[in-house]
Structures are given as structure tokens and as C-alpha cells.
Amino acid sequence: MEDDARMARNRAPESVHPARGEPPALELRDVHASYGHIHALKGVSLHVSHGEMVALIGANGAGKSTVLRTISGLLRPRGGQVLLGGSRIDHLPPHRVVALGVGQAPEGRRVFPRMTVAENLDLGSFARADRAAVEADIDRVFRLFPRLKERLRQKAGTLSGGEQQMLAIGRALMASPNVLLLDEPSMGLAPMLVESIFRTIVEINRQGTSVLLVEQNALMALGVANRGYVLESGTIVLADTADGLRNNPRVQKAYLGIA
């Protein structure tokens, strides 16, 4: 497919292989999580190296968002470990995890609808003390998403779906994260817009932010990621390079619509 090839050219650079022994930017070791009696994650292990973009794909209800919730601290894992740069963060509350450098654009782009674009972005830097650097980051967000700059005074709830997604990502970037967690940034967007958002995600990754990209749109996600994991019913069933997954018959059949 032509689109496909274009995205492949846009792909993030191969990750720099870390010196032996250097811990990955983010790592999950045998993580279990549940909602009441629902055992949503059954021993998930994955990692994102520094500067890497990793895709996590899977069907509805596989547990993708749950993985992100256990990383960000919204959900406390019942077992296993979450490590950020080698240090455990699995017992920290979300505001501490943000302060340590994990930014998340949540599923369904949960911006604060009754606040302006400017207020939303400002809230993104809530946990930070380095005000001068915040100014630089807001410029970075405006360069990545010029649309947001034009709509600073507009209420976030009145933005289009694509613009709200830009705002959700921009807000996460305002925390100056080392690791960016994106939950289905393509959801509900027109194909043109999806491409443009993905180009920006690649750009963010090129600038040095490690990215864990959760997607149902496996084609797009594997088009930009270095590596990927396939999650089924709370278990990682496949882990490979993005190309490896794209050429895997099982992935082609289940997630790429290729018979």
C-alpha cells in the first residue's frame, strides 16, 4: 500500500542499543492487574529502550489501556514490577509518576473541556518547578501543533476531535516526559488526520522522547514503531520488531486484515 510505504519512510530511527547493563527507559516485569474479580493483566512483561518507539497492539478489551494505567499509577498492579530507568514506580501515585517523567495522553483524549487550550497546556506542567523550561516546552508544543497556538483562548470542549487529540498529546508533553504513553491517538479520526498525528508522534520520538504507543490501528502503529508487542486477553502473545510483526501471518490475519 502506498500509505504504508510512506509511513515506513517516516519511521523512527532504530533505537540506539544501550550499553550492556543500562536499564531500559521503561520496563514491566510480570505485571498482574485486576478490577475486582476481573483479572485484566496476567503477567505482562515488556520494555521500552531509551529513544525507542514501541507499539502495543491488541483487540478491544485485551488490556492495553490497563497496561498504561498500571504504568501511570492510576491502577496499582497486584503483582510484578514497573521500572522507570531501573527504579520501581509501581507503588507510586500518579502525580509522582508524572513528576518522574512519564507523560500520558489518555484514551478518548480526555482534555478538560470547560477550560481553554492555554489552561489545559498550563495544567500539563502542573507538577513542574522549572518555569523557564516550561516556556521552552510550550514553544515546542506550538511547533509540533501550530493549530493549538491559533486556538489558545478556545474552550477545549469545542475543538474538533483531531485538535483535542493534539491537545491531549501537547498537554502530556508539557510535563517534559522521558517516556510518553499514548492511548489510541488514531481513535475516531479521519485517515488524513491520523497520518498527520502519527508524523508528529515520530517527530516527538526523534527529539528524544521514548514512546509506548497503544493502538488498535496495527497497520499505522507498526508503520512507525521500532518494535511491537501483541496483547491478547491480558497476556503478551507476540513480541518482535515492527517488520517482524507485519510479516507475521498471525498478525496479518488478526490485526492487519490480510487473509
Binding site: 500518579p94 502525580h95 508524572v98 480526555r110 478538560f112 473541556p113 477550560m115 489552561e119 495544567l123 502542573f126
Partner: protein
């Protein structure tokens, strides 16, 4: 005509007092989904503290707000930490039960300290009135209403202009998203509870000057405050203010033109009529943003 204007102004001033107290109640609900049945009890508690400051030390009751509000704020914060925090995520029905119990405890404490007879705060201006252009305005109501509006404005400025206000609004719209940007929602909740109680406290000091009160008066207050908040839309600050003004004006006009004995009943008829048409209240939204997700 002059009579009508006078009653309207008095109704608006009363509405200002109601608005201040109801703002605290709706704010607490908006951020933590806790219906604080003890809100009226905190109001009466503040009235008693004001009474003591006035009778023992001779401090003007409205100036005493500068003392009572911080005291009530501290009481609210401690109450949150000890009583509310452990049940914050409990179902709403159990928070109603718990805060009702809290109201009874406060009532008992007040009865023990100040007794159960009717108490009145009567500063020098209590029996004086402003008269101009044929209007006749009791000074206590004018001062009380203006002080209430002033405190409410300060509260509004905190909410709209400060980082704390922004954090509060974020936590009220979507607690999970607020956490994800680094807001410590639990700490915000403690502050909101204390601020909400402090607003009731400031209102209580004013109410103590306007009417005699007893420890058990909190039942009437919580009924009225809940009606105001439901009328405006649970959790909506502007709704609470609008509801409070409607209540204040309706009560005053009913007392003047129908009968004082109907003054408390008529506003509830208005609430009922509004809810039939708009179940979510005048300015309430049907759902919280995150209620549809997760």
C-alpha cells in the same frame, strides 16, 4: 412599587448569603461526589463561635469572619482527614449516612458547649436601618449580604484565577486526567472540603447576625441548601448561585406578599417544578466527562 424594590433587594441580599453557603456544598460535591449533610451543622457551629467572640470579646460579628473562617477551615481540614478521606470512594449513600452522623455529633457538641436555648447575636446596628428614597433596609441584612457577596467573589477569583482553582476545576471534571497531569487529587480534595466548610463558616457568622439560632437549626439549613444545590445542578457553582438567588427572592417575596408561614415552603415548589422540566437542575450537566469512559 418602592415596597417591591425593597423586597427584591432584600431577597437578593439573602440570596447572596445562601449562595456563599451553597457554593461550599456544591464545590465539595463537584470534586469528591460527597453530599455533605453536615454542612448546615458547620454553619451553625460558626454562628456559635461568632457569638462567643462577640459576647466575650466584643468583636463585631461580621469582622469576626476574619477569625471564624480560618478556624472553621482548620476544623474542616481535620474533619476531612479523619472522617471523610477514609470513605471518599465509598458509595454515595454511605457518605450521606456518615456525614449525617457527623452532623449529629456536631449538634451534640454545640448543645454541650452553648446549651440548647435560642441564641442571638445583636451588634449595635442590629436594630438600625438605612432609609433612602422611601426604601427601608435593615443594616444587618445589608452588611451581611454585602459581606457574603464579597467572600463569594474572593472564592470565585481563587477558582478562576489561581493554580489551585485550576487544579480544583480539573479534579472536578475528571479526577483521573487530573492525576495524570500531576495534580494530587487527594490533597486537592482535602483543601476543597476545608474551603467548602469555611464558606459555610463565613455564611454562619452572617446568618447568626440575621436570625436567632439553636443547635438543631442545622436540619432546616441542610434541607434548604440541598434544595438550592439541586435546583442549580449538583456540582455547578454558577448553578448554586442562581439557585440561591431564586431561593432568597422567593422566600422574601412570599413572606412579604403571601404569609411568612409559607416562606419556607414556596421555594420548594419552585424546585419541584424546575426538576420536572430539567432533572439535572438549571445548570447541571447530566454526566461527568469520565462517567462515560473507563
Amino acid at each position: 412599587m418602592m415596597q417591591l424594590i425593597q423586597n427584591l433587594v432584600l431577597g437578593l441580599l439573602l440570596g447572596g448569603v445562601y449562595a456563599l453557603v451553597a457554593a461550599g456544598l456544591t464545590l465539595i460535591f463537584g470534586v469528591m461526589r460527597v453530599i455533605n449533610i453536615a454542612h448546615g451543622a458547620f454553619l451553625i457551629l460558626a454562628a456559635f463561635i461568632t457569638y462567643s467572640l462577640w459576647s466575650a470579646l466584643g468583636i463585631d460579628p461580621l469582622l469576626a469572619i476574619l477569625v471564624t473562617t480560618p478556624v472553621i477551615f482548620a476544623i474542616g481540614w481535620v474533619t476531612y482527614k479523619t472522617v471523610i478521606a477514609p470513605i471518599r470512594t465509598a458509595p454515595m449513600a454511605s457518605t450521606v449516612l456518615l456525614t449525617f452522623g457527623l452532623a449529629l455529633v456536631i449538634e451534640g457538641v454545640m448543645g454541650t458547649i452553648w446549651g440548647n436555648s435560642s441564641t442571638a447575636i445583636r451588634p449595635g446596628y442590629a436594630n438600625e436601618s438605612f432609609t433612602f428614597a422611601g426604601l427601608f433596609m435593615p443594616k444587618a441584612q445589608v452588611y451581611g449580604g454585602l459581606v457574603a457577596v464579597l467572600v463569594l467573589l474572593i472564592l470565585g477569583l481563587i477558582l478562576s484565577k489561581t493554580w489551585l482553582g485550576r487544579a480544583i476545576r480539573a479534579a472536578a471534571t475528571n479526577p483521573a486526567s487530573a492525576e495524570l497531569v500531576g495534580i494530587k487529587v487527594a490533597a486537592v480534595a482535602a483543601l476543597v472540603f476545608a474551603i467548602g466548610i469555611a464558606a459555610a463558616g463565613a455564611g454562619g457568622a452572617i446568618v447568626g447576625v440575621l436570625y436567632p439560632f439553636v443547635a438543631g437549626a442545622h436540619y432546616q439549613w441542610i434541607a434548604r441548601l440541598l434544595a438550592i444545590v439541586v435546583l442549580g445542578g449538583m456540582g455547578s457553582l454558577n448553578g448554586a448561585i442562581l439557585g440561591a438567588v431564586i431561593f432568597g427572592v422567593a422566600e422574601t417575596l412570599t413572606a412579604a406578599y403571601v404569609s411568612p408561614s409559607w416562606a419556607t415552603a414556596v421555594p420548594y415548589a419552585i424546585v419541584f417544578a424546575v426538576l420536572v422540566v430539567r432533572p439535572q437542575g438549571l445548570m447541571g450537566s447530566r454526566l461527568r466527562e469520565d462517567a462515560v469512559a473507563t
